[in-house]
């Protein structure tokens, strides 16, 4: 299963991604979201779980170690954490300390964990970039009994880059999968790729995501598009991944009824309106086993996606 848990913010209108005015959440708010997230995990019971946006010591989420909390409140005993955003103090909007990352949780022992740095954004000034997140990918070998070359790969690609940074992330992701594949390994890989599947009916969400004080698509608007909401230039970026590996939701299945596989929305009171979260393997999914848990509307601004994988012999 893959899930961007939005640092335990649930659907609170956070200033950075939901046109909100909230910055620092209360411990009660975060624990409430974590309880809901743990409840969902304990219901679905995935064997391997890829989480994005897990805070372990951030002011915005009450300095709660969310990874430890989830280990304490689920059946998982093994985890690996890769730092995505680490700043002792961000002097902006009251953010303060930030420690957020990507996590792989497993029923089985984890070894050979690696954090792979992804390209930095080039569309930010140097000061902003200094304090900004460093997107990463986490890989780890999952020691499933009798299989010694099974890997999990977890990525959180850039959400707001307006240059080719996100494309670089996707290329780096595929390169890593190619490397594992070439070395005879099996993998389950996925995460929040922050881009749409090829053939999506809607590729521009600027108007849907627009805050009340913003304006896009009109003459004189600068920028013309909202950061992170215009996927039009990206519509072919995932094609190579789909061609090389099996996506949990095959492209034709997705294209036939896209709304069934939507996993994200930026608007607190709205249902899912786009697909950003993926799972890929170089082996074989169990047919029709993928579930986009669209009923999980309160835990995060992303829906979890789970699927059953055949275990290679």
């Amino acid at each position: 299963m893959t899930w961007n848990i939005r640092f335990g913010a649930g659907r609170i209108p956070w200033f950075g991604d939901a046109c909100g005015n909230r910055v620092i959440l209360s411990e009660d708010e975060v624990y409430g979201s974590l309880r809901a997230i743990a409840g969902k995990i304990n219901t679905v019971k995935p064997d391997i779980l890829l989480l994005q946006e897990v805070d372990i010591n951030s002011k915005r989420s009450g300095y709660i170690d969310q990874l430890q909390w989830l280990l304490d409140h689920t059946y998982f005993n093994y985890a690996v954490y890769g730092s995505q955003w680490k700043a002792q103090f961000i002097p902006s909007d009251g953010l303060g300390r930030m420690e957020e990352g990507n996590v792989i949780l497993s029923r089985w022992k984890i070894s050979d964990a690696t954090r792979l740095q992804l390209a930095l954004r080039s569309d930010q000034d140097k000061l902003t970039r200094y304090f900004y997140e460093r997107c990463c990918m986490v890989t780890a070998r999952i020691d499933i009994p009798h299989i010694d070359n099974f890997y999990a790969v977890n990525i959180h690609a850039s959400a707001f880059a307006t240059d080719d940074t996100k494309q670089k992330h996707i290329i780096q992701f595929k390169d890593e999968l190619d490397r594992i594949n070439k070395n005879g390994g099996w993998f389950v890989a996925g995460g929040d790729l922050n881009t749409l599947p090829p053939g999506s009916d809607t590729t521009d969400y600027c108007i849907q995501d627009m805050c009340s004080w913003e304006s896009f698509h009109s003459a004189g608007d600068d920028p013309l598009h909202k950061e992170g909401s215009n996927y039009e230039p990206e519509k072919h970026w995932l094609e190579a991944l789909y061609e090389s590996y099996q996506c949990a939701v095959p492209l034709d299945t997705y294209q036939a009824s896209q709304f069934k596989y939507f996993t994200h929305t930026t608007r607190g009171a709205h249902f899912w309106d786009r697909t950003l979260d993926y799972l890929f393997t170089n082996y074989q999914w169990v047919d029709h086993s993928v579930v986009t848990h669209q009923e999980a509307t309160g835990e995060s601004d992303h829906a979890p996606v789970s699927v059953l994988i055949m275990i290679p012999k």
Partner: protein, 260 residues
């Protein structure tokens, strides 16, 4: 370690034999039980500026921060008994304006603008005892207590979790705070002095209840005692909301001396 300590004491004794007794003028004695002479003014760039109202009463405030985060202190000298100089220091500190200023969106926002900062101030009282083990060395012990008065609730999520700032503002989120420390200063040669101090802050009513600051500086003083340049370090330890942290910061200051 023992050798280093012996060497240090040796240097102090040696320098004491051959140096002039400039410290007895009570210049550059902030942090001790000595008060500067009447009408002596020592404005500092970063530290509190001091003014001698009388020979036993000293006023200090920060000239640059006075409109943003005013802090005013009065130090009263209570004389010398068996070689021990006694003083008390009483201060008032008003951080509301500063906290409201940095409670903003975008760059420079140290506090989230979603919170309201109430009117509030803190009153501090400190007792200081100084002793001169050598002619040009002052050893000071101090202890104090700070109380905060708030005219509205202050959300604990508004803490600025940075060294020095967190330490000064912690009292507003908790019960009273107390502090205790040692200050050790002297001169190697007439123009070159040194300072080493340790301040412990105890915050009541919270798990983040202990902070420490250690400062070590070398100071050059101009011949006419009109300028003092300090350079060194400040080592800070604190139990912050995010957990225990150490910070090593550079210290540099210019302090001017006017009058005598």
């Amino acid at each position: 370690m023992k050798k280093v300590l012996l060497c240090f004491i040796g240097v102090i004794i040696f320098s004491d034999l051959f140096s002039q007794d400039t410290l007895t003028k009570n210049y550059w004695t902030d942090g001790t039980a000595f008060t500067i002479p009447k009408h002596r003014w020592e404005p500092g760039l970063f530290t509190l500026s001091r003014y001698g109202i009388t020979n036993k009463l000293e006023l200090s405030a920060h000239p640059l921060m006075v409109f943003l985060m005013p802090q005013v202190k009065i130090k009263a000298g209570w004389g010398e008994y068996s070689g021990f100089r006694l003083a008390t220091e009483h201060g008032i500190f008003y951080p509301t304006q500063f906290m409201r200023l940095v409670s903003s969106k975008g760059t420079g926002g140290l506090i989230s603008p979603e919170f309201t900062i109430p009117q509030m101030f803190a009153i501090s009282n400190r007792f200081l005892v100084s002793y001169r083990p050598f002619k040009n060395v002052i050893l000071t012990a101090h202890a104090g207590m700070t109380f905060a008065v708030k005219f509205g609730p202050l959300d604990k999520r508004t803490t600025i979790d940075l060294p020095i700032l967190y330490t000064r503002l912690a009292v507003f989120y908790n019960e009273p705070a107390s502090d205790a420390g040692l200050d050790f200063r002297g001169q190697f040669i007439p123009r070159l002095g040194w300072l080493f101090n340790v301040e412990n802050f105890f915050i009541w009513g919270t798990a983040e209840n202990y902070l420490l600051e250690n400062k070590g500086v070398l100071a050059y003083t101009s011949k006419k005692e009109t300028l003092r340049i300090e350079a060194g370090y400040k080592l800070c330890f604190g139990k912050y909301p995010a957990g225990p942290q150490w910070h090593l910061l550079p210290v540099i200051d210019l302090i001017f001396g006017i009058g005598h």
